[in-house]
């Protein structure tokens, strides 16, 4: 019997290696895999490259991971959050690398990794600093730049419902980056608010099928805590 549901955080996090590329779902406080990020802090892997939309808030979660010196590089679209103190301090001290990626390019690079597309052309960033050092090409009368897939060794995802095959649904704006993180990552770890019996989720309503999921931990934390 396939059973991707695991019982402990330690089991969820097992096998994450130093130097991993970690992709994070979530946007704002909604759909953020906070428990898994705490688990990663506990687990101890270092020299990480983390891709997420933001670069952490306050001194918790991703910010805490950075503060502990475990993040070598961050890939994000918006390093300035409401309270980016940890990132900014590290960045000014030259202790963390930053790769700024337009938000849509970030999502598309993850989706490309999941879909077997190693590189694609896009109009976003053409004629800007984002195009520096990138191949550009005219196609059909418009200029595009080449962007590469962003694959995760590990993906951290928050879902609303999950079953033992790893099928997932999301709630409202909690979907955001989570489905593309799931498909782009070699080891996709999920924290789910609700565990369902197999078959309880309508097959037409499953958003992330279990083929993109490795382990599921039940974390019924309730509503996002605000921003």
């Amino acid at each position: 019997m396939i059973n991707k549901i695991v019982q402990t955080m330690a089991e969820t996090m097992s096998g994450i290696r130093d130097g991993s590329v970690v992709l994070l779902g979530g946007f704002g406080a909604v759909g953020q895999p906070n428990a898994l990020i705490e688990g990663l802090i506990e687990q101890g892997a270092k020299d990480l490259t983390v891709a997420a939309n933001n670069a952490g808030v306050g001194h918790v979660g991703l910010a805490r991971l950075m503060e502990l010196g475990r993040v070598r590089k961050i890939i994000c679209s918006f390093p300035r959050s409401s309270d980016p103190v940890v990132f900014e301090t590290l960045y000014r001290a030259g202790k963390i690398e930053l790769e700024i990626v337009p938000q849509g390019t970030l999502a598309e690079r993850m989706r490309a990794a999941g879909a077997g597309v190693p590189a694609f052309f896009t109009a976003t960033g053409v004629g800007t600093k984002m195009a520096l050092g990138k191949e550009s090409r005219d196609i059909g009368g418009r200029t595009y730049i080449l962007e590469h897939a962003l694959k995760g060794d590990v993906g951290l995802v928050e879902a609303w419902e999950a079953d033992r095959w790893g099928n997932l649904t999301y709630k409202q704006a909690g979907r955001n980056f989570n489905p593309v993180v799931a498909m782009a990552s070699d080891l996709t770890l999920v924290q789910a608010q609700h565990i369902r019996e197999l078959g309880e989720i309508d097959p037409d309503h499953i958003v992330t099928p279990g083929i993109f999921v490795n382990r599921v931990l039940h974390v019924p934390y309730g509503d996002p805590a605000g921003f």
Binding site: Q103, T105, R111
Partner: protein, 220 residues
């Protein structure tokens, strides 16, 4: 700058938003950038169906909820609580940006630091040396939407013109802006450059030109 200081009252942010809202027809799919552009939604009456898109996978966004009706899972790209209109839907980030990048939005309204009369927009960094500039979805929106309008003050706080011949700040996208709504005027960006559609009452074209680096043209 010898400007005839005629008696005029600049548009408020609300008036700027109202002016832009009046130009959005029913049925358009529209993304409103963070800041002043967000106000535009308040001036589109609910019975004129305009479908607002938010980068984080919300299509058919409605106004902010009443305090006791907040849905904690329903925010917009500015991370404010919003509502979903009847007929709205959710999708993931790549699908949401497919709407933007695939040319499916009729309009995006952004704020800006500078707009040049060739349509270049600079709205994400004020210096090439900015240590950690935050671009978010601005480049996707500027490059992807069918039309880009800018809603901003006509000049910076110190009076420096924001409508310029060439942007000096790092670009968000080249040649993208089609129209600008400022607190002083409404201006189209055309092949001729800036074309003034209307000016706040009491301000002459010469007065407006004095506050604008690039040359202003009249229609026709």
């Amino acid at each position: 700058m010898s400007v005839t200081a005629a008696a005029f009252k600049p548009f408020t942010r609300q008036q700027m938003a109202q002016r832009a809202a009046a130009d959005i027809p029913e049925g358009w799919y529209v993304n409103l950038g963070i800041g002043i552009p967000t106000l535009v939604a308040d001036y589109v009456p609910m019975d004129r169906e305009v479908i607002f898109h938010s980068e984080n996978g919300v299509l058919g966004m409605g106004p902010a909820p009443e305090q006791d009706k907040i849905e904690p899972w329903l925010i917009n790209a500015g991370k404010q609580y919003v509502t979903l209109r009847t007929g709205g839907s959710y999708c993931h980030h790549a699908d949401s940006f497919a709407m933007i990048r695939g040319g499916h939005l009729d309009l995006c309204v952004l704020g800006a630091f500078q707009v040049a009369d060739n349509g270049d927009i600079a709205n994400w960094a004020t210096s090439d040396n900015d240590s950690a500039p935050a671009v978010g979805g601005a480049m996707d929106l500027a490059a992807g939407a069918r039309r880009l309008w800018v809603l901003m003050e006509h000049t910076a706080k110190d009076g420096t013109p924001k409508l310029v011949r060439r942007c000096t700040y790092p670009l968000t996208a080249p040649g993208a802006v089609k129209r600008i709504y400022t607190n002083l005027a409404t201006i189209d960006v055309t092949e001729r450059g800036f074309v003034v559609l209307d000016i706040v009452p009491g301000l002459s074209l010469a007065d407006l030109q004095a506050r604008t680096e690039a040359k202003l043209h009249l229609p026709g």
